[in-house]
Symmetry: C2
Subunit: 409 residues, 2 copies
């Protein structure tokens, strides 16, 4: 499976340098041959950090480490390997993280809690961390401000293209930069785990402000996408702020001075999240589900996810079938308040059902044409309140079965 997703962006964003960030990659041979599988980012002294991690109760050893480390609010090094997730590896996995972190901290002359770590790849196989620790000194010697493209590729597993985005924003009259890259193609790929996303900015912002921004931004981006409803044991989204742009720091997350930065950050997070959906395993259609009229935002979100995760809705999209009956079914199963007799559904902007019935003579031609395109939009109003939410997903195709069934011979 090396063909690039048909939904891939036409161009991959080139990432400019960010003051205070240097990157390096290396081929450690953890699992893949002939490609880099280790990515290291060095952060300048004084870098603040925030993170959002999987809520899975069977989270990987690196996630357990990072959940604790992020509380310190300070970062100097990020070490990520692909090929092995170090998940469900028991005490050996915890020890492996500890050895890697200690080696990295010693080399970078920082505290262990300033080292962030992630692993993505096979679950349940012990990670041979010696392959990482033995080469770390050499890798650090190769750090450069320009290795963004290589870094975004080194963390890939089943991804068919690297996912990158960059933005600028102004804080107190100073222009700051934000770069991000991520990987992920299913919530968990064949024997592989994970969505990993790393965001870097030269803005000077304290960790608590970053944490609030990141959590809210994640809710509107990475937490609003679904490929197959499955949740990885390793999902990690980490934001580093080096402070090198020299803006006057903002201590209050509600300060108006953050308005432009917030916009840019959220926009970048959504850009990256949608790139993950567009690389969804087997995806041939990109689907946006807008739910309005729900009892609350939370209710709207649950209804939108019920639609986006429904195998019957997803297979209908794959079959280019404007099957609004399945949307009705998904609304019904979401368990949130909905008024059957005021439900309204638009497909590609055309009202196909309203007041609990099919619109008798809706024009099928534009609906059929819309379903044949690669971008499908469902607008669903459930008729009970003002709550709304948007969720993005992809269709469920034969390729998903091929990729994940790995039919053994």
């Amino acid at each position: 499976m090396t063909k690039v997703s048909p939904l891939a962006p036409k161009t991959i964003a080139a990432l400019p340098p960010i003051a205070g960030v240097r990157l390096a990659t290396h081929a450690c041979g953890i699992r893949y041959q002939g490609r880099d599988d280790l990515m290291v980012a060095e952060l300048a002294a004084g870098t603040a950090v925030a993170g959002v991690f999987t809520r899975s109760l069977t989270a990987s050893a690196p996630v357990l480490w990072c959940r604790q480390a992020v509380k310190g609010g300070s970062a100097r090094l990020l070490v990520v390997n692909s090929g092995n997730a170090n998940a469900f590896t028991g005490a050996a996995g915890i020890a492996s993280v500890r050895r890697t972190v200690d080696t990295a901290a010693k080399l970078a002359r920082c505290r262990a809690e300033e080292v962030f770590i992630a692993s993505t790849g096979t679950i349940g196989v012990p990670l041979d961390d010696a392959k990482i620790t033995a080469t770390l000194a050499t890798v650090l010697a190769g750090l450069s401000a320009d290795h963004w493209a290589a870094a975004s590729r080194a963390i890939m597993t089943t991804d068919t293209y690297p996912k990158t985005a960059t933005r600028t924003a102004v804080i107190h009259g100073v222009t700051v930069r934000i770069n991000g890259f991520c990987k992920g193609a299913g919530m968990i790929a064949p024997d592989m785990a994970t969505m990993l996303a790393y965001i870097f900015t030269d803005a000077a912002l304290p960790a608590p402000v970053l944490q609030t921004l990141l959590r809210k931004g994640a809710d509107k981006s990475f937490n609003a996408i679904t490929v197959d409803s499955d949740t990885s044991t390793s999902d990690s989204l980490v934001l580093f702020a080096t402070g090198k742009a020299g803006n006057r720091p903002v201590a209050d997350v509600d300060d108006k001075a953050l308005k432009d930065f917030r916009r840019a950050l959220y926009d970048l997070l959504l850009d990256l999240a949608l790139q993950v959906v567009k690389d969804g395993e087997g995806a041939s259609k990109f689907v946006r589900v807008n739910v309005t009229g729900a009892a609350s935002r939370r209710a709207a979100r649950r209804i939108a996810f019920a639609i986006a995760n429904s195998p019957l809705v997803k297979t209908a999209v794959a079959g280019e079938d404007a099957n609004w009956g399945r949307i009705v079914m998904a609304v019904g199963k979401a368990g949130e308040k909905a008024d059957r007799d005021h439900l309204a559904i638009c497909i590609g902007g055309v009202l196909v059902a309203k007041d609990g019935e099919m619109v008798p003579a809706y024009d099928e031609a534009p609906v059929t044409a819309h379903m044949k395109g690669t971008d499908v939009v469902f607008d669903v109003d459930v008729g009970v309140g003002r709550g709304k939410a948007t969720v993005w997903t992809c269709d469920l195709t034969h390729d998903y079965i091929d990729i994940n069934g790995s039919y053994r011979t």
Copy 2:
């Protein structure tokens, strides 16, 4: 798609007569040509009734009717059509139910609330009830105690075989009989809705006792199966007791006199429910998920469903891949308490993971052989308590995509 599911039972149970029950079928041409699409069951005066219906908030018009009617506890007629679900048909659907029920009640000389009704088939298309009401008198003239096979076939939609079961039990020294038949292949099939199940017994039991038995029995059978996690707008499970066996009635559901009847009823319900799973759209493997060691029965159930509904677990089964990493992932996403470091997983009875790690040198040969069979068993102990639950499902295959994608040309 007319090939019979590879998981279908070798033989279809022939149902004997039940005193107080007469059946008839008819070809009304609602949607299908050349086959019966109407099934009517006449129940003797004094028949008690209980019912469990879909919790969908977009339930069909017939379900709305039956939810009310069942409160009366008394039944004289059951009228079921296939080909059209009368779901999401607004006020027209409600009126259609009313006309059918009124016509049926007049012909059977009973109260409208003693007429039970169901429709299964296309969603969102008005049901031409005149096709039913115009022929009802003729159909009733053909009632017979022997039409069980025809009745079980008349309600089929995308089912590849009729689903029947029969049992006997003893109440206070009197042998009573229980027959059941049902239909269903996805929670909702292509444009089709539904699981419908009808149980008939000659036992003399009051409606409140039947209702408690049916609800508990449903929890261990129809509510413990999943094909694709989607919920129909029309699911109905109805139990009729004619009282013709002449047993001394039992007024208390906890009376020991009900022990054998309860066993027989639950066994029959599970038999029918598993036949639905084995006809799951595209199913090539039958999967039993046993969860133990959970904080409660409810928690165990949620974890078992998280595993059974995971597209990644289901595609792994289709691919005959003993991918226990995906089971770990599904446990993690269920949101219920689990101890990562005490998690144990058996595949086909072989312990493949325990104490949060892969069992280093487990014998792969029997596991591989087990995955190649049609009956797959996962035992998962989550290591925190004594709650347990079993859920049954099938795999996710290319045929599911074909059946539900209905790729338009």
